[in-house]
Amino acid sequence: MAVKQINTSHILPSGWAGPFIDAGSVYVLCLDGSNQPEVWKSGTDPLVDSWTQQDSANEPSLGTGNTYGAAYQLSDQIHMAFYDDTGPNAEYSVFRSASHGSANTWGTVNETIQGGITNAGWNFCLFAMRADGDRICLYNGTRERIMGNNFARVVYARWEGSSWVTDIAVSASGLEYSAEPYAIGRGASDKMHMVFWQSASNWYGYRALDNANTLSSYQIGGSDLTPGSTARSPVCTYFDSSGNEVIGHVLQLGTLGVYNQTWTNSGTVSTPIVASGHASPAYPMSAVYGKKVYAIWKDNTAGDIYYAISDDGAAFGSKTLLYDASGATTRISANVFTRGSNDVLAFVVTDGGDLYYDELVISAPAEIYPRNPILFQRAVERAAYW
């Protein structure tokens, strides 16, 4: 593998930041030395050509800066939400990528999702979108108080074409429900899967939001889980070989390891599957390819980045080195997409304070014909006619 340096003195936000691909160019959301958001774009070959900062004049501004943000790609735009400690607000911005009519420019920036979020506690701002463009932001609302003690409730905000409705409770009221946003992702039928950690009780909570905006009942994942990382991997969903949709979230549990906590759409909770063969992990990340879940993490002992695969719900295989770090590594962000003729696990790491891009080819082209045989036949017929 050929590692390509993207830039110097940049880091990744706490949530998912890509990399994303559009019209052959690869994009990543990152933060400069003052924790201000930037989008960087690769040249024709992200492993060879230089990466460049895009539309620096119109970037979002985040007050004194923090790293609480996440991105989501929908078609030719990279949408994102950040916690802006000026306000403090949850804010939305969008970057228009290569195939957009206003290619490689920022669109709306610093649009207030919710303003005046006082004493939120945890400031993680997670983000995902429905296929129709609805935006969902998962975050902590203004802190609440019972008997002089504080609790933080996980809330979400949604935008369905015109304005934001905010502060919609996801975790329940009460000290025992004090919760921290952990992951969001879109599954089948445009369901948004939301994962949060209940700090007081060490429970992992899960709810799904359907496309009619109804929240599923409250599901508790494994108990006595103590996640311990500032990194937030996205929810990964896939259909297993029995046809059931599996919703998974890869997380770090202290020094125990990297786990994949899973639910099904019916709400059944599965025991976390251990990504085995390591200890002292940090900065968990995940990506899904078919029925394979890739758990990615930093091994705190070696400082390098490893991955392991769970195929169709089976236990994770042994760890494999993904990135041999030269400096101190921190957050990782990963995605699966097709680039050229290969499906790749693309990832960005912070190594020694600089950002690097690399990719792992996970599938060479399996067929040379279009996937739809009818369309292929019609193409052949048209070619014969002409």
Binding site: N119, G148, T166, D167, A172, A200, N202
Partner: protein, 241 residues
Amino acid sequence: MPLKQYNSKADFDADYDLNGEPEGHPNTRPGIRLGYCRAVMLPVAQVRAAKLVEIFGWPTSTRIFIIGAGYAWTAEVLEQTYGYTNIVTSDTSPYIQSTQDQSDEAEINAAITAVGLNPASGEGATKKARLYSPGNRRRHSRSVRNEDLSNGGSRNRIKNVLGGVDVAISEDLIPAFSDAEVVQAAGWIDAIDTLDQVIHMVTEPGFGTGADPVFNWKTIEGWKALVPSHTFMSLNDWSVV
């Protein structure tokens, strides 16, 4: 004198601040916030009652006394949802005593008005309909007695309501007292009757910063060390010692 006294609405407002719109609100205005109001505290009481029943599972004939009961919402849920009909409650807060027969309509109206809505029309009226039951809905569903248990007469008045007490529960009360006051109050509770169990539901030092420092914050293990014969139940995670 307790470390923290709830003599007035201001005392409650300082320590109770809850999201009155869990269904969300437009980002063009702030969300409605409520203090010690039924609409936001009854869901909390429902969880407390459910956990008491789940953990302790007393027969429904059990005679229960709850002190520090506020407007007795937990007692209300224990009776109406779980069938515990033998419950007596007490709270010595002058504010609780003077307002328990009143509705919280004015407080809800004020909270709705504070975010720029009219509680009598439009969105404000819709919000009010969810937060407030029509009619002269009193804050409590049963009379909350004003007994501090500090003398035999006070204790007997509690005991005589049900002809005896089997289980005594203090509801998030003891963090408002000093250690010495808690030990003294524990003795008063023990003297009510031959009790099967005394349970103190307590908020433990919790999330983040900003917890009111005036309270006597302790873990349930810390409280247990102070009064070993009593049972302590965390309102943070429902663990019991």
